[in-house]
Symmetry: C2
Subunit: 272 residues, 2 copies
DNA sequence: TTGCTCCTCACGTCACGTGAGGTGGC
DNA sequence: TTGCTCCTCACGTCACGTGAGGTGGC
């Protein structure tokens, strides 16, 4: 018979751990002195302790371990538990590797001068957005600004004409097509649940919920192209893959004070 | 101005999270109504929230984030923090991958019949052991049992002759050398801190502290070779590499009832 | 008698989730 | 007035670590 300290040394655990396992019913001492409460273990219980530690090292919770010890599960159940565990660990490894690449992307960004732009990239799922928009195909980069200013009033008129209230303005861009068709700009306003009819120019569309990288741009819109450039470099650098169009959400937009604008840039991405 | 619910939806977090960040001083609302306690945020604070979330996603604690936001650290400090973070994530990934390989080794072991033997493999650091031993070189596998029985009484006599008390008996094995020199068996007893002089046959040695895989074998010693075989297969299967000699610790040994024996098998290993 | 080990509470960890119980504005 | 949102506690999470305060055996 060993007292708790001797058994703890033998099994390389703390006495607190043994008391904890006793309390949970995972590993009761072979004998407990009724008068003093002293716990005594047999050397043979080292095998029981090992079983608990082995399962713990595989990542099972103590509650799961208790069930395994108590229910004496079949080979099939055991296999199922191990497979589940494997899948969970694979998820964790994937998450941590993605995190690692984000950290490394930040380290490389520190070498350049774009650290400020890029310090607050967040991965999120996009909100579902219903918007009324006009699409303008065949644009070059320089065309986008003027096109925006041209299209937004037109969509606005349509929305208010339908008796609805516009939300924030939203733009999204389809990639240049392979055969050089240029950029397709979609510009308009969020309308949430309101009823707005289509016209030949204005269409109501639902932007899908996707995984995206997101940064907040604060300040005058003329800084947005540079922000996009640094943002896209960071994304590619972090190992994420582009997975669809990018969006701009104008959360705060005042013509009177453009430098107070708050714009969110979103790029749909997927895990490498 | 947005109330907490609106701001939470904008930033894709819970209101509880925003209250928590307020409490920690990470992100105070732009205005708090003194009468009602209502929190109000400006859209521009979305950028602040993004910074917090971005740092959180890199794996920093909220306390670290608070320091980053408060101290406005230099590029060099930032770089140092990111490098530390990178190293920590790499450790986590390594741990999880090793864990994954252990789970997979168990799954494969379930296909065979050695699941029982191998269910309680634990990775540990070995205890430091000081022992008095005799080494017997040039053995084959069949010689080991008889050699043990021959050597142990001799070591025992030496220890008691020196006025010391033997601890548990311990054996360890050096690999067969490349030129076919056979196995070198070291057999003896733990002596802990006691003074035992060397003789021409008996030597006092300190077994080093190493990372090892360990299983407990309960029962008659004739089961030990089969346990070793399954154990070694599991180790190789789990991706660990052998990194030195293996040991046997006879935690419980009674000649009168050999089936009550408790033997620990240890094999020094290193990460793949 | 002095150390050493043992005992039983009970708080702390980390970033919130989840009620409980109550109040203010449309 | 009825829902909705907001508020402030305060407990729970997971596997122990770490005292606090006290007792029993060499």
């Amino acid at each position: 018979m060993l007292n708790i300290g001797e058994f703890a040394r033998l099994g390389q655990v703390s006495t607190r751990t043994l008391r904890h396992y006793d309390e949970l019913g995972l590993l009761a001492p072979a004998r407990t002195d009724v008068a003093t409460g002293y716990r005594f273990y047999s050397v043979r219980q080292l095998a029981e302790l090992h079983r608990v530690l082995a399962l713990r090292d595989l990542g099972f919770t103590l509650e799961q371990i208790g069930k395994v010890l108590g229910d004496d599960p079949s080979i099939e159940e055991l296999r199922g538990m191990l497979r589940l565990r494997r899948a969970q660990i694979e998820l964790v490894v994937g998450d941590e590797l993605a995190r690692l690449r984000r950290v490394e992307a930040h380290l490389r960004a520190l070498e350049g001068s774009e650290s400020v732009v890029v310090q607050d990239v967040v991965m999120k799922k996009t909100q579902p957005i219903r918007m009324a928009e006009i699409a303008a195909p065949g644009l070059t980069h320089q065309d986008i600004g003027p096109a925006f200013e041209r299209l937004l009033p037109e969509v606005l008129a349509h929305i208010t004409g339908a008796g609805a209230t516009p939300g924030i303005s939203v733009g999204w861009y389809e990639d240049e097509t392979v055969d050089g068709g240029g950029i397709v700009l979609h510009a308009g306003f969020e309308i949430a649940g309101q009823d707005v009819p289509d016209s030949d120019r204005v269409h109501v569309v639902d932007l899908p919920v996707v995984d995206a990288a997101s940064v907040i741009h604060r300040g005058h819109p003329h800084g947005i192209p540079a922000a996009w450039e640094a943002f896209m470099r960071w994304i590619e650098d972090s190992g994420y893959r582009l997975a669809g169009p990018c969006r701009e959400l104008y959360h705060e937009f005042h013509l009177e004070d453009l430098s107070a604008n708050v714009t969110e840039l979103q790029q749909a991405v997927s895990r490498p």
